[in-house]
């Protein structure tokens, strides 16, 4: 399969659009956790209850009229599930389950409804750039449509009842994926992360809880779901994200001013590594991709598209590499494949620009 064709299938189309503040904010995600009032939570439910829940969700989803397609976990291959995880369309937990779990996806993959994960239903909306209000609006709209045919577990005092007490209330997790190389290079993240905590927010690495910040990408999200309205939660997050954007911009300016040539050197060395290396590990690839993306933002590199970081951070994950290769790969084979896929991808942009190849 040609890379161009593979890319069109591998990268969700919502990702190719440029959103507001997209030089720093890669994407926005809203998730609502919901449960049926009648059935036990996935923690203890029986196979029969799991199937009944999935059926009830399915019936409600169909009533909404949203053109969503269901993928059942038990019908997917291991590699297919892994690819869905790498695209952030399902969680690793859902992928592990082969019972009555499924995901409902929209055509461009900006809507993803997970069934029987930790909760009976998780409504997820993804937007490019910083679009918290827009994403919240869409998620609440889907929520209202589903509720017309699905009796939610709701309590007057506790709000939407969820399996984990950390989600009760609004069931809302609003998160923003940010590329923060300036703040990392100026060693400011160690100061910012604890400060974020004081606002009931948390900063994590790209693949969520417990993962490290690969490629200077951080996910900032709310931790508190009780006692604040959905609008207030997203407003608070937006306020903090705006401040981080301002700080990242001034860190980048300061870096260009104080050590512009060193920064440019670092960017082009990373670009060289990506364009010419034959074996590359995921950590090094992530670091170089972050540098190249910064180089594009600062105008050092002009012939590479901005979506490169977003795209290649996903494409160079093990699941995608193996899907592209068409079979299982050992770690060292993945490093070789990764290098060649990155070269090929960068070549695409350069060819478009110059109309020729120089690899």
């Amino acid at each position: 399969m040609s890379l161009e064709k593979f890319l069109s299938q591998a990268v969700s189309s919502w990702m190719n659009e440029d959103g507001p503040s997209s030089e720093i904010v890669l994407s926005t995600r809203i998730r609502l956790a919901r449960n049926h009032h009648q059935y036990a939570f996935p923690t203890v439910f029986t196979q029969e209850e799991a199937e009944q829940t999935a059926e009830a969700v399915g019936a409600a989803v169909k009533h909404t009229g949203y053109p969503l397609e269901e993928l059942k976990m038990k019908e997917l291959q291991g590699l297919e599930k892994r690819v869905l995880v790498e695209k952030h369309l399902i969680s690793p937990n859902l992928a592990e389950d082969s019972g009555a779990s499924s995901v409902w996806l929209s055509d461009n993959e900006d809507i993803s409804l997970m069934v029987n994960e930790e909760d009976h239903l998780r409504i997820q909306c993804l937007f490019p750039g910083l679009q918290l209000k827009e994403a919240l609006h869409k998620a609440l709209e889907i929520d209202d449509a589903i509720e017309q045919h699905f009796d939610y577990a709701f309590d007057e005092n506790y709000g939407y009842l969820t399996t984990c007490p950390t989600n009760v209330g609004t069931g809302l997790r609003a998160s923003v994926m940010m590329h923060l190389p300036g703040l990392m290079m100026t060693h400011q993240m160690n100061r910012i992360i604890p400060a974020i905590g004081q606002f009931g927010l948390v900063a994590r690495g790209i693949y969520g809880e417990g993962s490290e910040a690969l490629g200077n990408i951080f996910q900032i999200s709310n931790q508190t779901t009780l006692g604040k309205s959905e609008e207030d939660i997203t407003e608070d997050l937006l306020h903090v994200v705006d401040q981080i954007i301002a700080q990242e911009k001034s860190a980048r300016e300061a870096l260009v001013k104080s050590s512009g040539i060193q920064l440019e050197d670092r960017v082009f060395r990373s670009y060289g590594t990506l364009r010419y290396s034959r074996v590359i590990e995921s950590k090094e690839a992530a670091k170089c991709l972050s540098d190249v993306r910064l180089g594009i933002d600062l105008g050092f590199i002009e012939n590479v598209s901005r979506s490169i970081l977003n795209e290649l951070m996903i494409l160079t994950q093990p699941g995608f590499l193996q899907q592209y290769a068409g079979g299982f790969l050992r770690p060292v084979e993945r490093d070789i494949r990764r290098a060649s896929l990155i070269r090929e991808r960068l070549e695409m942009d350069v060819s478009k620009d110059k109309g020729g190849s120089d690899i």
Binding site: E156, T163, G169, G227, E230
Partner: protein
Amino acid sequence: MMCEQCQERPAAVHLKNVVNGKKSEIHLCEVCAQDKGEAFMNDDGGFSFNHLLAGLLNVSPVMKQSQPQQNRRQTVECSGCEMTFDQFLKIGKFGCPKCYESFRDQLPPILKRLHSGNTVHQGKLPERQGGTIHMKRKVTELRSDLKALIEQEEFEQAAEIRDQIRSLEAEIRDEGGGADES
């Protein structure tokens, strides 16, 4: 669950011991546990992971709440899924929606700890199922308007608001939702 030692503070440390197949459990607050700490710690060589998680989900003495006497029962069980409160503490997840009702007395300190001191939902209500809750929220809003109007001596407007409150409360009673106690 209250501390078995002082009966004053909520239990924050739960110790289980098995000697010759005979199980024993003790539930203490952080203060009493510290007093007795050394002796317990040596029993099984230290706190287990479960004790740590239980400690995290439980309250610290500063967040203590006066709880009804009947909650001295060692193990509360959910009427829906039969999960016990201790099991919930161990896995950190509920078994069904009824757990929230069954563990209602035990939950406020846990929720306060997890949600920056909050225990009451302020967000969205389900449109269709919201029923009388929508009206109750409206009554609360109108009461605060009423208070403000009385303070401003706008008695004519205040009377209108009072009538609106009365009619909403009657509607809530008719729907069987019970009037707001506050």
